[in-house]
């Protein structure tokens, strides 16, 4: 799975999730597994909207947290990779269509 800075990301629409006190809890309905994101993970999750790439998400992180651009990009890509492997996020198809 490519987490190249230019790929746009969206949340997997099948998921149930809730932000509770700045931490996000996500349930994947197919396997009933619960995932938890801390506040920075939640910050990124809120901003994953199908219109932003890893690079753009990292920029938002730099603007809100004390982190260098390099580390922000590297960590954002790592998180997207892990979330992608768990099918929590999916890349927006090249045609721009939404995943149903």
């Amino acid at each position: 799975m490519s987490t190249a800075p230019s790929v746009l990301w969206q949340k997997n629409p099948a998921l149930a999730w809730r932000e509770i006190d700045e931490e996000t809890v996500i349930i994947s309905p197919n396997d009933s597994v619960m995932h938890e994101l801390n506040d920075t993970g939640s910050f990124l999750w809120k901003n994953i909207d199908g219109k932003k790439s890893a690079a753009e998400l990292a920029e938002l992180l730099v603007a809100s947290y004390e982190v260098t651009p390099d580390i922000a990009l590297s960590d954002t890509q790592s998180l997207l990779e892990e979330m992608s492997s768990r099918k929590l996020v999916v890349p927006v198809p090249a045609t721009g269509g939404e995943l149903r």
Partner: protein, 389 residues
């Protein structure tokens, strides 16, 4: 999961909500605790407003139940709203009205689990409980339709006099369908407090074969859990299996989750700590959910209760075998903090099965002591009466 439970209990976030959409039902189960007449159910708009408020308050696990939910003509509208708001959606139904098309709609709304009441694998037994001829056949016909859609199905079988020994059949049925099941030993009084439903309850001694059945102990679900560790500026996601949503050791010093991070909403908008604790904290037609949840005196009082406050149960030597329910303590014993006969009898039975010699609950110890004292006083009185001056 424990961490989520701990922080939602600590901050009183309503993580899990049981929302009955209607009390109307197309079955008339002999043990049911509901009045099935419609006394003014919330409208579609009211239900949707409630969902908005719950999402805002932090509810994730949402169970729609009834009555029979498919009798709500606006069920899909409500489910669509729940999906839009990203709830983890679970349903409880008798599945009589489930068709292939309806099962597909449930999939569209990303319903995670559908719990279906099955009282026996024998039609005569099941149908005698539901009072609907052919109901088992219809319920069983619906299950594959739901499974085909990838929905998780769970069988629920409350045990009562009419079906006590049918549980093995339900277990076999679940195994054949490859779905989980739950056997429920609880038959509750009616919501209005009357005890007509209790006539169907099985005595604790009659439950012995069920409690002793090794097959049941072998089938307890063992959720696998794993945590990833990634020491980075943005720690990675942590994942763990979700079973019923809110079972956890994080409730250790609390009587239960009711009013701490879970609650029940009736079709009429009443907010209760739990479906088994019929003390309404407020009504959503008059107040917003957050106002009731965070400020209702009844909920505040409930939240202050700790296990150590229970005058009898806190000193019970077999408390670890007991599944005391505060709601049933109130309904059956008249005291939210009290002990009640059924729980004590069951705890003693379980402790005995676990190998304890002659276990006696604190309630029964107290009664025995009190009875001895009373008898002793009577004798003393007689002695006094007949003793010479």
């Amino acid at each position: 999961m424990d961490r989520l439970i701990s922080r939602t209990v600590q901050k009183h976030r309503p993580l899990s909500v049981h929302f009955d959409l209607t009390y109307r039902c197309n079955e008339r189960c002999v043990h049911c605790y509901l009045d099935h007449d419609d006394h003014g159910e919330m409208t579609t708009a009211e239900c949707l407003a409630v969902l908005e408020e719950l999402a805002h308050a932090g509810t994730l696990f949402l169970t729609f139940s009834g009555g029979e939910i498919f009798l709500r003509p606006d069920l899909y509208e409500i489910l669509a709203a729940a999906r839009r708001l990203h709830f983890d959606i679970n349903l409880k139904t008798n599945a009589l009205l489930v068709t292939r098309e309806r099962a597909a709609r449930l999939r569209e709304f990303r319903v995670r689990r559908v719990q279906i009441s099955v009282y026996s694998d024998i039609p005569e037994v099941h149908d005698a409980i539901t009072k609907v001829p052919g109901s088992l056949q219809r319920t069983l016909a619906a299950i594959p339709l739901l499974i085909e859609q990838g929905l998780q199905v769970k069988l629920a079988c409350p045990l009562m006099q009419e079906n006590l020994m049918a549980y093995r059949g339900v277990m076999a049925l679940a195994e054949k369908l490859r779905v989980p099941y739950v056997l429920d030993l609880t038959i509750t009084p009616m919501m209005d407090g009357s005890e007509t439903s209790l006539a169907h309850r099985v005595s604790v001694s009659s439950l012995l074969p069920v409690l002793q059945d090794p097959a049941l102990h072998a089938c307890k679900p063992q959720p696998d859990s794993h945590l990833s560790s990634a020491p980075k500026a943005i720690p990675a996601v942590a994942g763990s299996a979700v079973s019923s949503g809110i079972e956890s050791s994080a409730y250790e010093d609390l009587p239960c989750s009711a009013g701490h991070n879970s609650c029940y909403i009736s079709p009429y908008g009443d907010v209760f700590p739990c479906v088994q604790l019929p003390q309404a904290a407020g009504n959503l037609r008059h107040k917003r959910f957050a106002e009731i949840w965070y400020h209702a005196p009844r909920l505040e009082r409930l939240r202050a209760i700790r296990e150590s406050h229970l005058p009898i149960c806190s000193r019970c030597e077999i408390r670890s075998y007991c599944e005391r329910c505060p709601g049933l303590a109130l309904m059956e014993g008249g005291d939210l903090l009290g002990a009640y006969e059924r729980a004590c009898d069951l705890a003693e039975q379980k402790a005995r099965l676990a190998g304890l010699a002659d276990p006696v609950s604190a309630l029964h110890q107290e009664r025995a002591a009190s009875s001895q004292t009373t008898t002793g006083n009577k004798i003393a009185a007689l002695v006094t009466d007949f003793s010479p001056d």
